[in-house]
C-alpha cells in the first residue's frame, strides 16, 4: 500500500503547535537564564569556594550529570509531593531544566575559568581589586568568551530534552504533536512537522545566542 501523507490534517491544528512552540521556547528561555546563573555560581564555588561548598557543588554536579533528565523530572513531579511540595507540570519542568542546565554549564564554565592565566588574576590582585571584582571583571568575561559555543550547544540540548516534559502534561511542542496524532492518527505527519519545527527552533535559538554572545561578550566584534 503506498503511503498517503496528509499534512493538512496536522497543520489545521496549528494553534496547538504554535502554543507548543511558545511553551518550548518559554521554558528554554527561563532555563537558559536561570540555569546559566546557577552554573556560573556553581563554577565559582567549585573553583574559589570553601571546602564544604566545593563538596556540595561536586555532589550536585555529579548527581545531575549521571542521571537521566526524565528521572530528575519525575522525581520533582511525582516524588516531591510525598514531601508536601506540589508543583504544577510547568513549574516542575522549568525547575528540572534549570537544575539540569546548571550542572552541565557549571562544568563548562569551570573549564573556561581554569583556562584563565594565573598572571591575570595576580595582576588584578596587585591593583587591589576585591575577589568579587576580580571574578566578575577579570576571570569571568574571557572564560565565558572561550566556552560560549559550548554553552549555546548545551542550551539547545536542554531545549530538545524538554520534549520529555510532555510526559507530565506540560503542553510543549512534543506534547502538541502527540496530542494531534492521538486525535487524528496521523503519527508520521505529526512527527515530521514536529521535527521541522524543532529544527527551526534550534537554528533560531543558536542564532540568537550567537548574537547575544557577540553583543555582550565580544564587545560587538565578531567572536
Amino acid at each position: 500500500m503506498p503511503i498517503a501523507l496528509d499534512f493538512a490534517a496536522v497543520l489545521q491544528e496549528w494553534p496547538l503547535l504554535l502554543k507548543g512552540m511558545v511553551w518550548t521556547l518559554g521554558l528554554t528561555t527561563i532555563a537558559a537564564v536561570l540555569g546559566l546563573t546557577l552554573g556560573i555560581a556553581a563554577a565559582w564555588t567549585r573553583t574559589e569556594g570553601s571546602g564544604v561548598g566545593r563538596l556540595l557543588v561536586a555532589m550536585y554536579v555529579e548527581s545531575i550529570r549521571n542521571t537521566p533528565f526524565i528521572v530528575q523530572l519525575f522525581f520533582i513531579f511525582f516524588g516531591l509531593p510525598a514531601l508536601g511540595v506540589k508543583l504544577s507540570p510547568e513549574w516542575a519542568s522549568v525547575i528540572a531544566m534549570v537544575i539540569n542546565l546548571g550542572a552541565y554549564s557549571a562544568e563548562i564554565v569551570r573549564a573556561g575559568i581554569q583556562a584563565t592565566p594565573r598572571g591575570q588574576v595576580e595582576a588584578a590582585l596587585s591593583l587591589a581589586m576585591t575577589r568579587a571584582h576580580i571574578f566578575t571583571r577579570v576571570v569571568l568575561p574571557p572564560a565565558l568568551q572561550r566556552v560560549w559555543p559550548a554553552l549555546a550547544s548545551q542550551i539547545i540540548i536542554v531545549m530538545l530534552g524538554s520534549a520529555v516534559c510532555g510526559q507530565i502534561a506540560t503542553e510543549e511542542l512534543s506534547f502538541a504533536a502527540n496530542l494531534i496524532q492521538s486525535r487524528n492518527f496521523r503519527a508520521f505527519e505529526a512527527f515530521i512537522v514536529a521535527t521541522a519545527l524543532y529544527l527551526l527552533l534550534s537554528i533560531t535559538v543558536r542564532d540568537v545566542l550567537n548574537r547575544v554572545g557577540r553583543l555582550f561578550l565580544f564587545g560587538g566584534r565578531r567572536g
Partner: protein, 264 residues
C-alpha cells in the same frame, strides 16, 4: 541516446517498484501469519487487569489471555508487543502489529483509520475523585483539574463534555495519570473502571469514588484497514468463544463480573 537510456532506467525502476508494492499488496495479513506461523499482537502493560506486568516481569491479564487464545485457535505462535494508549493505533498503521488487543474502544474517529472485530470484553470509563469533592454533574468540574491519559477514549469523551474552566492535564500513559492523581497533582481522574478500581484498592487513603460516567464502551480488537480475511477469521474465533463460554470465563477470571451482552 543518453536520454532514452535514462528514461528506460527510470521506467524499469518504476516498474520494479510497482511489482514490489503489488506483491506486498496481494499478500494479506492472514497469509503472512499462516506462512510465518507467527502473529504479532499489541497488548497493554499499564492497564490492570487487562494487561499488566506481574512479579515475574511477564505480561498478563485479560488482553494477554485473549491474545494467546486467538494465537492458539489460529495454531500459530504469538509475539506480544507492549503498547500504550497513545501509540497502539500507530502500531497497526505501520504494520508493526497484526492485531491490537489493548482495551480498544470503538468510535467513528478510529473507524476512519482502522477496522474492528466483534467485542470481546466489557468496559466503561468514568470520572473519579475523593468523596470530599462534591461533583454531581459535568458543570461541577469547572475550575477543577482532571488527569487523563492522552489519546485514550476518556480523553476524547471528557474533551467533548468539559465545561469551560476545566483544566485537563493529559499524561503519557495510565501509570503517569494514576501517579499524578495519587500524588495529588490533579484533583480528579478520568479513566477506565478497572484502572480506577485497582488504584482505589492500593490507595484507600485517597477516599476516591465513582463520580460521573463518561462512556460505556466494550473492548474490540483493532486490525489494519482492509485485512478482511483476518478480521472474519478472528470474528469466527470470538463468536465460538462466546458460545463455548470461554469469553465469560475470561471476564470472570480477570474482572470478577459477567461479560454481559457484547456487540458484534
Amino acid at each position: 541516446m543518453k536520454i532514452s537510456k535514462r528514461l528506460m532506467l527510470s521506467a524499469s525502476l518504476a516498474l520494479g517498484l510497482s511489482v514490489v508494492t503489488g506483491l506486498s499488496h496481494a499478500q494479506t495479513a492472514l497469509d503472512s501469519i499462516q506462512k510465518s506461523k507467527l502473529i504479532k499482537i499489541a497488548i497493554p502493560t499499564d492497564f490492570p487487569p487487562y494487561g499488566f506486568v506481574g512479579i515475574d516481569l511477564q505480561p498478563q491479564g485479560l488482553d494477554i489471555d485473549m491474545a494467546n487464545y486467538i494465537a492458539h485457535k489460529l495454531n500459530v505462535k504469538v509475539e506480544l508487543l507492549p503498547v500504550t494508549s497513545a501509540n497502539r493505533i500507530a502500531y497497526l498503521q505501520t504494520k508493526k502489529a497484526d492485531l491490537v488487543i489493548s482495551t480498544l474502544g470503538k468510535n467513528p474517529e478510529r473507524e476512519k483509520v482502522i477496522d474492528f472485530t466483534s467485542a470481546y470484553s466489557p468496559f466503561f470509563q468514568a470520572v473519579f475523585a475523593p468523596k470530599t469533592l462534591n461533583i454531581k454533574s459535568f458543570n461541577d468540574l469547572a475550575g477543577k483539574s482532571v488527569g487523563v491519559t492522552r489519546g485514550a477514549m476518556e480523553d476524547q469523551e471528557l474533551t467533548k463534555v468539559a465545561p469551560s474552566g476545566l483544566d485537563i492535564k493529559r499524561f503519557e500513559d495510565n501509570n503517569a495519570t494514576v501517579s499524578a492523581f495519587v500524588a495529588g497533582q490533579t484533583q480528579l481522574i478520568a479513566t477506565g473502571a478497572s484502572v480506577a478500581a485497582n488504584m482505589m484498592q492500593r490507595n484507600p487513603q485517597l477516599g476516591a469514588e465513582y463520580k460521573l460516567l463518561l462512556k460505556d464502551s466494550p473492548n474490540f480488537i483493532g486490525i489494519a484497514k482492509g485485512e478482511d480475511a483476518l478480521r472474519l477469521k478472528v470474528n469466527t474465533i470470538i463468536a465460538e468463544a462466546k458460545k463455548s463460554g470461554d469469553i465469560e470465563k475470561m471476564a470472570q477470571k480477570w474482572l470478577g463480573r459477567a461479560a454481559g451482552n457484547l456487540p458484534e
